[in-house]
Symmetry: C2
Subunit: 358 residues, 2 copies
């Protein structure tokens, strides 16, 4: 399929951010977007790059009623020498297709996903910020666009990619988060949609996040929906525990998102000779290890922040500080290594970097 | 707030359905829609009735990523003498507000919801079908419209109402459904969003419904997400079992939708001196009762079909026919009574009917 390009009228270019370090996440978008339609009889069609603009959606578009929508999140990095990097994008394309299968939506050929993003980055390359730490956030999205009321998989879809520059997450070094363990609200459960990157999982997180916020915590730590006993993940991050000198993280049993940063931390740890255990971990074990001092570090992993050290956890109305709230040595090391690889400042022994060449 | 009215250009009127009995559910929409915007600082504003048209949505509109959206479903009925009836609409407005609270969305004053629908029905009254059994389906919807990437409750919302004529559900008498009991997939779980009428619950039902369809069943019966042992609800209906001469239906413990038809059946049964038990019911008990013949009837309840008799159930690869698949006496009686009240053909001792007067 040939991608049509319709560049923005130069007079209508959006103003570039005056100060890259002041960008608020998710509020600034680049000049163009990629779009493509799907119809049951015809498959994917009419791929095009057009000026960033409002979508025309029928008020009965199925996504607006039945939540049939999935997305991805990745970043474009500009290295000091000007090269443009993506970090393991293939993983995002594969995860998009896994999410699509779970939601009964059509898949998109991986090579074509690369091509679509390539065309979009080419026309908007000036939007990729220049300072190390800042980046271009990329949001591929697929939604059910068919106008129809009645629950079933749609026959028409829209796939689009939007991008926007974002500031460094930690402009002045780590800013550890505090997390609230929810034993009242549940995000998802085995047999549900937890492992897909789909809107439902975020909708079900809103209420508990507001409760946490009111109590003064930045994030929610979810427990499993069956027993509310095993740790699952945090907000939009996977979670790791350093207990003594081993790393523990919950296994991918279907209810948590298979994070790409999670996978990268596991590979790096193994590479460094650190024991990693993907195993069920009870919240009681977490609390005990914090109390006894065996818990050396707790951190979240995700594309937005890479590593997010956890300073404090609240469970059943009691608060526990992890190692006096200080940032752990491993958190820093994983962060430095992954960010170093992303910006081409460190060697990439795993072949994680995909260089975008125009 | 004053509702502005912008009538459709007469030349652009949509064609009225040639044959009311041939209408496909959810595909035909009336000439107008109601719209209203919400901004965090200003509250609800700019209520208006405009021609039915595409919504302009930013591709970063939060609903398209994080599924913050809720809806309702009710019907307008035209009686033989021309009066227009709604069935317990107050319950829909209250449920919309309960859904809103669960999803951290703004509520809408109940009296104003009435007013909005009233204005819309007034301008589109000719769209309400004339034959008994057919009706005008009404879909109030609220979505997060703020352009923003990042998970949190939105600061901007759109509320709208669209309507469309629908044919009688059973033009030639009941058409019993067959249901597939899912013990692999879960719709929702205690602590989740199950009791809200929100997109997430429908998204999580798609996969299992496709599995059921491939096996030749029309609907999925959901079990509880914790033990997968207790019956919850069917597709877009609540479920009732007549065991000997008592009626059993699962209680409202947070994971199922509090159906308005469900509530009406419970009230009618009590009125008729039938014992109704809202209690947890195990799927094993259901199967045993079908086997022993104690299960006299199984039926679903919902706005679309009112009563939907169940002819057959499949659980763990075994199929069970309910009373040779024949429609039960109570199913018919509940159906006749509720439909009779809706169309003003039967007395309304409960004050369920709201007459729309223009
Ligand atoms: C629910 C959830 N878990 C985990 C992650 C981390 O995944 P990744 O490392 O691929 O960004 C994300 C975010 O992207 C997420 O939304
Ligand atoms: C999940 C679900 N359960 C039950 C119902 C029945 O509710 P009501 O009787 O209010 O239409 C519906 C449909 O409206 C539904 O979507």
């Amino acid at each position: 399929m040939k991608i049509k390009i319709q560049p923005v009228d130069p007079a209508k270019r959006r103003p570039k951010p005056a100060d890259e370090s002041k960008l608020v996440f998710g509020k600034t978008f680049s000049d163009h977007m990629f779009l493509m339609d799907y119809k049951a009889e015809a498959g994917w069609q009419d791929p095009r790059v057009v000026p960033y603009q409002a979508l025309e959606m029928d008020p009965s578009a199925m996504v607006l009623h039945y939540g049939q929508g999935i997305f991805e999140g990745l970043k474009g990095y500009r290295c000091r020498d000007g090269r443009i990097h993506l970090f393991r994008p293939q993983k995002n394309w594969e995860r998009l297709n896994r999410s699509a299968r779970k939601l009964c939506m059509p898949e998109i050929d991986v090579a074509f996903q690369f091509e679509a993003l390539h065309e979009l980055l080419k026309i908007d390359k000036d939007w990729i910020p220049h300072s190390i730490g800042s980046s271009l956030y990329i949001r591929p999205t697929m939604i059910a666009s068919e106008p129809h009321l009645g629950v079933r998989p749609a026959h028409e879809y829209l796939y689009y990619i939007i991008t926007g520059p974002v500031a460094a997450y930690y402009p002045e070094g780590f800013n550890p988060v505090t997390i609230y363990v929810s034993d009242e609200f549940v995000r998802t459960v085995r047999g549900g949609l937890g492992e897909a990157k789909t809107m439902a999982n975020y909708a079900s997180s809103l209420y508990a996040a507001e409760v946490a916020k009111k109590k003064g915590f930045t994030q929610v730590l979810w427990l499993d929906g069956v027993e509310r006993r095993f740790v699952e993940e945090v907000g939009t991050m996977n979670i790791f525990f350093r207990i003594k000198d081993e790393l523990v993280t919950p296994p991918l049993t279907g209810s948590i998102l298979p994070g790409i940063t999670r996978d990268s931390v596991i590979q790096l740890a193994a590479h460094w000779g650190i024991q990693v255990h993907e195993r069920p971990i009870e919240i009681a074990e977490v609390v005990d290890a914090i109390r006894s001092g065996d818990m050396k570090e707790v951190f979240g992993t995700g594309t937005a922040a890479v590593i997010s050290p956890v300073a404090e956890m609240s469970y059943k109305e009691k608060s526990y500080r992890v190692q006096k709230g200080e940032v752990g040595e491993w958190s820093q090391r994983f962060y430095d290594e992954i960010v170093g690889i992303q910006y081409g400042e460190k060697e990439d022994p795993f072949g994680w970097i995909y260089e975008v060449k125009f």
